[in-house]
Structures are given as structure tokens and as C-alpha cells.
């Protein structure tokens, strides 16, 4: 799976789901949870979105606030589980 494409999908989702019209722009490295952009409750929808889109299951003990703290980290996590399917 092309990692850049995956990152773009995640970035688009974060922008649409969590940012307001007047929010500062974000990039692949922006801290999402520790930076206060995504609260730990709202992380659930991103996890479910990615699980449905890529037909994977991310166990709760891997879906930690740290693992979801940037687009890069989320992409790494998703890639690992997608690779595990093959």
C-alpha cells in the first residue's frame, strides 16, 4: 500500500472530522492528541473509520493516544495491520 496515499487519506479525515473553519493548518507531524486537536474520546471514530476502510481490526491495547498522536504514527499503525493481513 502506498504510504503517501494512506497519509493523505488520514490527513483529510482529521481535517474534516476534527478541525474547525478557523483552525491552524496541520501536517503529517502535528501532535493531534497531545496537541489538543483530537480528544481521546473522539479518537474512536477515526479508529472505526480506518478499520472499516482497510478491513482491519486494531486491538484496544494498540489504539493508544500515543499511537494516534500524528498522521505519520497512525499511518505506520494502519500499514502494520494491513501488512499482517497478507
Amino acid at each position: 500500500m502506498a504510504i503517501e496515499g494512506l497519509k493523505n487519506i488520514i490527513l483529510d479525515y482529521v481535517i474534516k472530522e476534527y478541525l474547525e473553519e478557523d483552525s491552524e493548518p496541520i501536517n503529517y507531524e502535528t501532535p493531534l492528541i497531545s496537541g489538543g486537536i483530537v480528544d481521546s474520546f473522539s479518537m474512536v471514530s477515526m479508529k472505526r473509520f480506518l478499520e472499516n476502510k482497510y478491513d482491519i481490526q486494531i486491538p484496544d491495547d494498540r489504539a493508544t493516544p500515543d499511537a494516534f498522536d500524528s498522521v505519520n504514527k497512525i499511518a505506520d499503525l494502519v500499514e502494520e495491520f494491513v501488512a499482517g493481513k497478507k
Partner: protein, 415 residues
């Protein structure tokens, strides 16, 4: 000694950090009953000062109403002071059930259970009725007590953007596989004074087979034509599955709260909600006062009508003076100042002019959205509001914020 010098030092550092961040809360001692005008000692040790209160949740002006005080006195004489028991052992009097029945009728629900506070109602409800097979979908700006209650529950929790019905619908679709879906919102949002679109929410919940919970603490008694609450305003009385609310604001302002709604959900709370099971309920003297409050607000809409007129007058006055307000039609009127220090300085300036109104800033409201939250009461007379408007204008001129845009205020004071 368990509380060692090192431990003390650590806590002192933590407190100093709170102070350094400008987030330290101080109480102001009030020496009079709660009312439109109160006598305040501030700072501690200073002489008493009579000020107009613009920040109480005393929406209906019943906190010190003579009939309510008399009813509380009578209740104290006839039912005693304390129950010394939780409800299900020997802590339930006839008047507890009488109040539950009155609230059920007033809110248009099936049954009601009293809690020591609405904070307790919200803390106990979710865990009592939901499990890990379920999902809770809440507005991103719901009250902290709902967040705490949701955290105590094993159900999955997701959120939708504030008042964004399209986003809520997406979430209902995303979680369609869950056993029970519960949508959670405040009726009136306390920091902004805006309201949940309950008619649209009921329609969405019906479409996606979801339950709906509304915390109507800042609405019960005065929102809607006869004060039933936000569900009356939106024409959906009888269609809300659960309403939680408080007796600590419009409904007399003393203390207590309740869960009111579908019979089976209320009964689940009676069986399982921990704040109900492991704490005394509302004291008889307060129940007696609330029963009188319910009588007063159902025999006429005089107080609700006066509150609505006061709110409209106040909003118009501030707006014409050039303040930036949050849009809305409730008795909560936030005056936007954006900068935390400015909000605190304006609050102090108002106090010097005899007006008690508090600044709110991060983390109580989002960063860069500091404000003075003003709240109207049926206890206010137009003369109070005119004096308060005069003070707001004087302080507004001093800080040069009248007629200024958001960008101009931010340019001058920062966010």
C-alpha cells in the same frame, strides 16, 4: 507521617502552577440571601459591598422567594432535618415520591428518580443502563458531568461537532452495528446559551433507532412556552427518552437533581446507579421547598415571561452599546472578549462599578474565546438592568472595546 514535607512541596508547586497559568479560582463570600442584589465580601476581609448579581443560575428568581422559604420551614417542622439513610433502606419519605411524580408530569415523561445532584444523576446513569456492546454519541460541548458519567461506563464513546446534525447522522451510520445507540446533548449549552435542535435530533434518533438523552439543567422551569424545557421549545415533549436536570438552578437553586424518562431506564437507575444507591438523597427541607417551586411555576407563566423580557432587553442593550455577543435567545448572554486577561480585567472593572459578573476562559471555554457570561433572572427589575448596562458601557469604553470587531479586539489584546 504520610503527608511528608516532600509531598506538601509537590502540591504547593502544583498549586503555584495553577496560579501562574491564571487559572486559580477564588471564592467571593456573599453575606446575604441569593437575589438580584447581594452583599459581597471581596477580596476576603474587605468591607461588604452591595452589587447587582449578573451571574447566578437563579433564572426564575425563586432562590429566596418567601413562599419557598416558608414551605421549607414547614417541611423542616413536619418531616425533620435529615434522613440518615440512603433511599432504599429507610431514606424515602412520601414527599420524595410526591416530587418525583410532579416532575414526571411537568417534564412529560414516564417516571423520575431523584439524585443528590444532577452531577450525580449524570455520573450514575450511563453505567446503570449501558454496556460495552453499546455506543454513546455526544455533542462535543456537553457538560463536564456528562463526560464524567460517560467515562465511568464501558460503552464506546464518540462525539459529533457542536450542533452539527449532518455529523451526528454520519456517526449514527458509523456505529449502526452497536446494540444500543445513545445520543447525548445539553438542552441549553451553559457557556454559549445556544440550544440543541431537539426536533431534528428526535427525527434522527427515530431514523437510526437510537435513544436520546438531554441534560436540561439550564432550561428546566423556563425554556419553552410553559417552561417545561428545551423539548417544549422544539415541540418534542414525550419524545425524549431521558432528561436529566437539576433543582440547583431555575427550580429554586438549592440542590438536587434527577433522571426522568422511560420507565424501564429510570428503574434501572433505581437498581444500579451508584450515586443513588450509596448516598443520601435530597434532604426533606429542600424537597419541601422544591414542591413549592413546582406549584409556583405551574400556576402561572408570569416568572418565565418576565425572564424572557429581561433577557431580550439585556441582549438588545448590550448589542446596541457595541459589545460582541454570542447569538441566542436564552437567559444566558455571553459577552465575548476573546482574551483571558481582558475578561478578568473587565470583570474587576464591573465589580468596581457594583456589578458582579465573572470572566470565563480556557479551559472552561476554548482557547481564544474568553468571555463574561451574563445570566438574567426574573428577580431582576429593569432598573437593575439599566444600572448594569451603564456599568458595562463605562467599562467597555475604558478598555476601548465598544463597536470593535473580534479581529480588532484580538489585535489590541491578543487571544
Amino acid at each position: 507521617m504520610a503527608f511528608s514535607d516532600k509531598t506538601r512541596e509537590n502540591y504547593q508547586t502544583a498549586l503555584a502552577e495553577i496560579q501562574g497559568a491564571g487559572l486559580f479560582k477564588k471564592e467571593r463570600f456573599i453575606h446575604s440571601p441569593q437575589d438580584a442584589e447581594i452583599e459581597v465580601e471581596f477580596p476576603a476581609g474587605a468591607g461588604l459591598r452591595k452589587v447587582i448579581n449578573m451571574c447566578a443560575n437563579n433564572y426564575l428568581g425563586l432562590s429566596s422567594h418567601p413562599e419557598v422559604i416558608k414551605a421549607a420551614h414547614d417541611g423542616l417542622d413536619s418531616r425533620g432535618y435529615g434522613m440518615s439513610s440512603v433511599r432504599f433502606i429507610c431514606g424515602t419519605q412520601d414527599i420524595h415520591r410526591e416530587l418525583e411524580n410532579k416532575v414526571t408530569e411537568f417534564l412529560g415523561t414516564e417516571d423520575t428518580l431523584l439524585f443528590p445532584s444532577c452531577m450525580d444523576a449524570n455520573a450514575g446513569f450511563f453505567e446503570a443502563v449501558l454496556t460495552k456492546d453499546d455506543v454513546i454519541i455526544s455533542d462535543r460541548l456537553v457538560h463536564a458531568s456528562l463526560i464524567d458519567g460517560i467515562r465511568l461506563c464501558s460503552a464506546m464513546h464518540d462525539t459529533y461537532k457542536h450542533l452539527d446534525m449532518a455529523h451526528l447522522e454520519e456517526k449514527l451510520q458509523l456505529h449502526a452495528d452497536k446494540r444500543y445507540k445513545l445520543v447525548v446533548t445539553d438542552g441549553v449549552f451553559s457557556m454559549d446559551g445556544d440550544t440543541a435542535k431537539l426536533d431534528e435530533m428526535v427525527a434522527l434518533c427515530e431514523k437510526y433507532d437510537a435513544m436520546l438523552l438531554v441534560d436540561d439543567s439550564h432550561a428546566s422551569g423556563f425554556i419553552g412556552k410553559t417552561g417545561r424545557g428545551t423539548h417544549e421549545k422544539y415541540g418534542v415533549v414525550g419524545k425524549i427518552d431521558v432528561i436529566t436536570t437539576t433543582f440547583g438552578k431555575g427550580l429554586g437553586g438549592a440542590s438536587g437533581g434527577c433522571v426522568s424518562g422511560r420507565r424501564e431506564l429510570v428503574e434501572m437507575c433505581r437498581q444500579r446507579a451508584r450515586p443513588y444507591l450509596f448516598s443520601n438523597t435530597i434532604a426533606p427541607v429542600i424537597i419541601s421547598g422544591i414542591l413549592k417551586v413546582m406549584d409556583i411555576i405551574t400556576r402561572s407563566t408570569e416568572r418565565q415571561d418576565k425572564l424572557a423580557k429581561n433577557a431580550a432587553y439585556w441582549r438588545k442593550g448590550l448589542s446596541e452599546a457595541g459589545f460582541i455577543l454570542r447569538e441566542g435567545d436564552t437567559p444566558i448572554v455571553p459577552v465575548m472578549l476573546f482574551n483571558a486577561k481582558l475578561a478578568q480585567d473587565v470583570s474587576m472593572g464591573l465589580y468596581d462599578e457594583g456589578i458582579y459578573a465573572i470572566g470565563f476562559f480556557f479551559p472552561v471555554v476554548p482557547q481564544g474565546q474568553a468571555r463574561i457570561r451574563t445570566q438574567l433572572s426574573a428577580a431582576h427589575e429593569i432598573s437593575h438592568l439599566d444600572r448594569a448596562l451603564e456599568a458595562f458601557v463605562k467599562v467597555g469604553k475604558k478598555f476601548d472595546i465598544l463597536g470593535k470587531t473580534k479581529q480588532e479586539i484580538i489585535a489590541k489584546y491578543g487571544t
